[in-house]
């Protein structure tokens, strides 16, 4: 299987999604199986490509048009890791009780999220970003309760405003550089985007992408949406979609805007996100909104970590992001089990030992109690910030540590209520079907990773080294340094019709 097959990971879920509503009119079960099959095939394709790449990188010229004229997908460890997480997590959080339309939207969401991880073209990223947005509006609004529709409408308006800013940012970048390909932009950025105009373009794109990534100040939708929808959908949006938006921001920061001011902007907004999110979580009186605000805080930490230049920041950011990807969806599933006001949960955890144990585990890891992975993720973040040594970075480190204290305060308070000896007026029984299998799986992975810290750390370091390797990226996509700066039109198209594919492909892939 060649690396080109990776486009199947986007195409197959879309195909299944297109057919799902029509098929679902005659058989809902068939639509469901079609969706599962497409996601499984997508995961299999990504997995086999990852195995074949074996730590290398590759670029795929979609349609055979060589970048920068056509759209390129870029495959490195970071892209494939997040792309592979998409079908897996989507399968785990599949809307089992949904209609064929919901299946279709979930599949479209998965395809778009995969595209966000792989694509190396800013406008193509915008299209996939909008696709995740529209699919998630539909999924949120599909809930019966009227609050879901109101939340979806408010989410839509904010997100659409953000998209306009993103589009304006892309327009400015294109006007300055005349290209949309990230690798080509990386070669042009030093001379064309190193000024206030470039910084403005980055700020516009950051605000646009920040809506999905729960970045301060465009995260007003988070508590409303997450507390109106099912735990599965909240888990999917908080765990997966937000991370992919962050991934896009990181790619843009590393490749196109490698300026201290851009990183500082991310640091400041991330820090504000931590402060606002954690304080609101501390004040929250119900479980769902507590987790939603805590999610804002955690994403703030991710942004702060990624703002550190070089591989150290990428390693820390990836660690926090992956840890959050693992814990927060599982916590939302547990929140669905208990739901409701924290005070009303008095004693609810007693007698449900598996759920309580999982909750304790995730809470401890989220706070960052050693030796759980959450501790190492936060440690990496704080250390990389301190090593950077600038004033704002130190302040960020202090805020991260202070946030830990606040997180501990509210999570332990909730824990105390859950496990209180005396029972409340009427102890709320789990009113929805137990969804412990997925949460247990996340718990097992979390515990398992404690025993594999060293290989995990090495793996992350390898990913980060690849991710910050701008020259490698440019070489892989454009097939050689310097070529992109020369005029693209001067290179005659080779091959039959479609132009030559100049992607660098390791020999074992080409076979």
């Amino acid at each position: 299987m060649t690396a080109d097959a990776v486009t199947l990971a986007v195409a197959l879920p879309l195909l299944a999604g297109f057919l799902s509503p029509a098929l679902g009119r005659s058989s809902r079960t068939a639509a469901q199986w079609l969706g599962w099959a497409a996601l499984a095939a997508s995961a299999a394709v990504l997995w086999s490509v990852w195995v074949r790449l074996d730590g290398g990188t590759a670029a795929v010229a979609v349609g055979g048009f060589r970048p920068p004229l056509g759209i390129a997908f870029y495959l490195d460890g970071m892209a494939l890791l997040f792309a592979l997480a998409v079908p897996v997590v989507t399968l785990l959080f599949w809307p089992r009780a949904g209609t064929p339309q919901q299946f279709a939207l979930t599949l479209v969401l998965a395809a778009a999220a995969t595209g966000l991880a792989l694509s190396g073209d800013i406008f193509n990223l915008y299209v996939f970003y909008e696709l995740t947005a529209v699919a998630s509006f539909g999924l949120v609004a599909a809930h019966e309760a009227r609050r879901a529709q109101a939340a979806a409408l408010r989410y839509l308006l904010l997100s659409a405003a953000g998209s306009v800013l993103l589009l304006a940012g892309i327009a400015v970048v294109y006007l300055r550089t005349g290209t949309l390909n990230l690798a080509h932009l990386a070669t042009l950025a030093p001379e064309r985007l190193q000024d206030p105009v470039g910084l403005a373009a980055f700020a516009l794109m950051l605000l646009g992408l920040g809506v999905k990534a729960e970045l301060f100040p465009v995260n007003g939708w988070v508590p409303e949406v997450y507390s109106s929808v099912s735990g599965r959908l909240a888990g999917l949006l908080a765990g997966l979609v937000s991370k992919l938006a962050v991934l896009v921001v990181v790619r843009a920061l590393v490749l196109v805007f490698p300026r201290p001011e851009a990183a500082e902007l991310m640091l400041v907004l991330g820090t504000l996100g931590i402060v606002v999110g954690e304080l609101a979580a501390w004040r929250a009186r119900d479980l769902r909104r507590q987790f939603a605000f805590s999610s804002i805080g955690q994403l703030g930490i991710v942004f702060v970590a990624f703002s550190v230049p070089g591989p150290a920041g990428i390693v820390a950011g990836l660690a926090v992001a992956l840890h959050h990807l693992l814990t927060k969806p599982a916590l939302f599933l547990l929140a669905e089990r208990w739901g409701g006001a924290i005070e009303g949960l008095r004693g609810a955890g007693r007698g449900q030992w598996l759920a309580s144990t999982l909750f304790i585990l995730f809470a401890l890891s989220l706070v960052g109690v050693p030796p759980l992975p959450g501790f190492w993720a936060k440690l990496l973040t704080v250390m990389s910030l301190m090593e950077q040594g600038t004033g704002p970075a130190r302040a960020g480190a202090v805020v991260v540590m202070a946030a830990t204290v606040v997180e501990a305060a509210y999570l332990f308070r909730t824990l105390g209520v859950l496990l209180a000896r005396e029972s409340g007026a009427e102890s709320p029984q789990p009113h929805r079907g137990p969804d412990l299998a997925t949460a247990s799986l996340a718990g097992l992975i979390l515990v398992g990773s404690v025993f594999a810290l060293r290989p995990l750390g090495d793996g992350l370091k390898a990913l980060a080294a690849q991710a910050v390797d701008v020259d490698g990226y440019v070489r892989t996509v454009l097939g050689g340094p310097g070529m992109a700066v020369s005029h693209p039109a001067s290179q005659a198209p080779g091959g039959a019709g479609g132009g030559a594919r100049v992607a660098h492909v390791p020999p074992e892939i080409a076979s």
Partner: protein, 143 residues
């Protein structure tokens, strides 16, 4: 008095539409107006995008018959703006459908009222007492 160059006029128009739309999104209260403001902002964004391919005195990038007489404008932004317009249509249709549904469910088309009712709904769904009793005794505070 001489007119400013055409591209500056176009650019100023696009940016103005963008800003008018964004300001409308912030200040409007009526839900339908918010959707309209979104449309205006999107129109501004799209104009800005298509303007990136504008060249003085160039013709449309269509090769018909003989070789093109003059320079042609950049075809890529035209393709991009087609995509952006279609995206905008989809988003606005969904927004209007949601407005219809929300009006029927809440009986209001005002954003501030909707926000207040939404928070009430969320509190109610979580089984919380109304906001007023936040500091009432019995709500445990961490030390």
């Amino acid at each position: 008095m001489s007119l400013p160059p055409l591209e500056i006029v176009l650019y100023a128009g696009a940016v103005s539409l963008l800003i008018i739309g964004l300001a409308g999104l912030v200040m409007s209260e009526h839900l339908v107006r918010l959707v309209l403001a979104l449309g205006v902002a999107e129109a501004g964004g799209n104009l800005l995008l298509v303007l990136t391919g504008f060249r003085q005195g160039a013709v449309a990038p269509i090769l018909l018959g003989a070789a093109p007489s003059g320079p042609m404008v950049d075809p890529i932004p035209q393709a991009l703006v087609l995509t952006a317009i279609v995206i905008g249509v989809g988003v606005q249709a969904l927004a209007l459908a949601l407005v219809l549904r929300v009006r029927r469910a809440y009986g209001t088309v005002h954003m501030s009222a909707l926000r207040a009712r939404l928070v009430e709904d969320l509190d109610e769904a979580a089984g919380l007492p109304p906001e007023g009793s936040r500091e009432a005794p019995g709500v445990e505070r961490p030390v």
